[in-house]
């Protein structure tokens, strides 16, 4: 057993950086934060990210070209389809899954005989706090 291999130094550094940050970071942003730790080249970061993504500890958000630490590791080990809601104002990310949605995708794939290997779902918009802030500003503007 024990597919749960310990992290290498670079992997741990990258994961810690992402975990400490409440918004997604690009590979080069991670690199910048790790120069003090002796990380010098993009490839060192990309290699660590590859492994972390592979093991599910980190997710890549295609729409942002950025990476984020999984907010609930161990829960969606492998199979589950996860959706990401990304606030375009504060950049925070909410991760959720929904078995009904999974079922519908599975039904479509079944009907088309499509063999699904990966599903990417990214929703962009405004989180509740940014939304309220925006509405307040908007309200003030129209009121005056």
């Amino acid at each position: 057993m024990s597919t749960r291999r310990a992290l290498t130094r670079n992997q741990a550094l990258v994961l810690d950086t992402l975990t400490a940050c409440d918004e997604p970071l690009s590979a080069y942003a991670i690199l910048d934060r790790l120069r003090g730790e002796g990380v010098r080249a993009p490839l060192q970061v990309y290699r660590a990210l590859d492994k972390l993504v592979e093991t599910g500890l980190v997710h890549r958000l295609d729409s942002l070209k950025a990476f984020v630490a999984c907010s609930h590791p161990h829960e969606h080990d492998g199979a589950a389809v996860v959706a990401f809601a990304i606030c375009e104002n504060c950049a925070r990310v909410w991760e959720f899954s929904d078995s009904k949605i999974e079922d519908r995708f599975a039904a479509w794939a079944e009907a088309e005989s499509f063999l699904t290997k990966a599903t990417t779902i990214e929703i962009s918009g405004l989180c509740v706090s940014c939304r309220k802030a925006a509405e307040a500003t908007e309200g003030a503007k129209t009121a005056v």
Copy 2:
């Protein structure tokens, strides 16, 4: 009325290129195919793509960093959530939508007070023909 503006020369060239191609193309691949028509710089392609994506005639597939002509324009004018199934072998794309899936996303957003602005769904896997081809090869391998 008539938000249905005619396409400019560059926009028409780019759209024609994508429509004539049965797989997604990167911006630079489009550029290469249009050099004969006098298109010389990436920006000319990106500008045309921006407009085409904005009007819904073209979609960008984040997971491929590539663009594809909409397979049924005018149908999903604006609102609808569209999912793309992409064959990782032949690169062809199937575009579909499902109101039940939309409802579930809307329900999540409602519960979280998240204001959705865009939803990206990309499924990668094997289309029916590539899947059958792969299974045939696999079968032959194990049989012999």
